[in-house]
């Protein structure tokens, strides 16, 4: 069967535009460009309550994103939640006595882990655990406490 050169060129263009669209979707419209290298190091922290934290929530320090939550587990002995975080290898120098708290971006925004630097010389490494943690604020508990303290004040 004879296929004209124009047809071949047009089909080539069509396939190229199709792949360009896939490339556009992956680079411009999704997080592929921000995932970067995966060989960061993993740290963990224990929380009494993680609220609405999810896997892939951001981990930040001073508002800058350092990594992502890579896993959430429940410890059946201490009844706490263990949160594993992947930190980008660029940020090697976090002090080992840094503290972690679960914060909310905006009033109704999503929850993320905020790290706060300590003063220790040693830095966090693969597998190390953050000791000082602060749980997520649960709005119902907060309102309950507020009402209770009001009652007792009267």
């Amino acid at each position: 069967m004879h296929v004209s050169k124009t047809t071949e060129i047009i089909v080539g263009l069509f396939v190229a535009i199709g792949f360009a669209a896939i490339f556009f979707l992956s680079m411009q419209a999704s997080n592929l460009s921000t995932i970067g290298s995966q060989e960061g190091y993993q740290i963990s922290a224990r929380f009494e309550n993680i609220g609405g934290l999810k896997v892939r929530s951001p981990v930040t320090m001073a508002g800058v994103k350092l990594g992502r939550v890579s896993g959430i587990e429940f410890d059946p002995e201490s009844f706490e939640a263990i949160v594993y975080m992947d930190i980008s290898p660029k940020y090697k120098m976090l002090p080992s006595d840094s503290s972690a708290s679960i914060l909310t971006s905006g009033i109704l925004g999503e929850q993320y882990v905020g790290l706060e630097a300590g003063g220790e010389e040693e830095s966090l490494e693969q597998g190390s655990a953050i000791e000082i943690t602060q749980s997520a604020l649960v709005l119902e508990k907060l309102i309950g406490q507020f009402l209770f303290s009001k009652d007792s004040a009267n």
Binding site: V3, F19, A21, S26, S30
Partner: protein, 260 residues
């Protein structure tokens, strides 16, 4: 009374038999795929008639669907003061659902019906039996290149649809309604996940490509070789493809995004 049950039985058996024939037919197509890949030129002319000729339709529809999403999304989101996340709404609905599904529906109407009519007419004018007389297997020479080109074209068309839709939403959101350009893209990048959203959308469109072209070539090959039979087969291609796309989309969405 019994005759009704008998009629129901006849209909069910006929449906099952047709499904069986369609499956055997798909197996025969799959067997011939390696041979077709070696004869690339057969494929190119088919990608032209199946994919390239659907391109302008997909381009225009994608643009307008994206623009409508931009408008509708804006009016709903601005009630909650969240108009900045318009980019996420437009991109998520396009990449996950509308891109693969609407592109597949358009593809079934534009390319699927054409495939059925072409193959059905070839059968009606006895070109297929003519080929068999010359010891050329029509499944290998006619059907398989068409099937393969549909499977290749569908994900490309669906991606073009989504990409153009996102750009259309950008024109409306950023250009007309004055959403911040940075917010449009950065919120999108923060919320749309490559594996979760883009890859699953691509998988959906590949599945739709297989199903729509399978239905189209089978209906053509199985058509009653009269002008009325071909017209019936063409109608069936569009109707069955639409049903199949929507049902399979529900199942795939439940598997991919629902935590079942």
């Amino acid at each position: 009374m019994l005759t009704y049950f008998q009629r129901l039985g006849v209909i069910s058996l006929a449906m099952l038999e047709r499904l069986g024939r369609a499956s055997v037919f798909l197996m025969r197509i799959l067997q011939h795929i390696p041979a077709v890949l070696l004869r690339f030129r057969l494929l190119i002319s088919q990608i032209y008639s199946v994919g390239v000729l659907s391109f302008s339709l997909i381009l225009l529809s994608g643009l307008f669907v994206g623009m409508v999403l931009g408008l509708q999304g804006y009016y709903t989101l601005s009630d909650f003061g969240a108009a900045e996340s318009l980019g996420v709404v437009v991109a998520a609905s396009l990449v996950r659902e509308l891109g693969p599904v609407v592109a597949a529906l358009l593809f079934a109407g534009r390319a699927g019906s054409a495939l059925t009519a072409e193959i059905g007419l070839m059968k009606a004018t006895e070109q297929l039996s003519g080929m068999e007389m010359m010891a050329v297997d029509p499944v290998a020479r006619i059907i398989t290149p068409r099937f393969l080109s549909g499977v290749i074209s569908m994900p490309l068309l669906a991606s073009v649809f989504s990409a153009v839709g996102i750009i259309g939403g950008y024109f409306i959101g950023v250009g007309m309604l004055g959403i911040d350009e940075g917010a449009y893209w950065s919120q999108m990048q923060a919320k749309i996940d490559f594996h979760e959203d883009i890859m699953n959308g691509l998988i959906k469109s590949v599945v739709f490509g297989v199903v729509v072209t399978w239905i189209a070539v089978f209906e053509g090959y199985d058509a009653i070789p009269t002008s009325e039979g071909v017209s019936l087969a063409t109608t069936r291609t569009v109707v069955h493809s639409a049903f199949a796309i929507l049902i399979i989309d529900f199942i795939l969405t439940a598997l991919m995004f629902g935590d079942i």
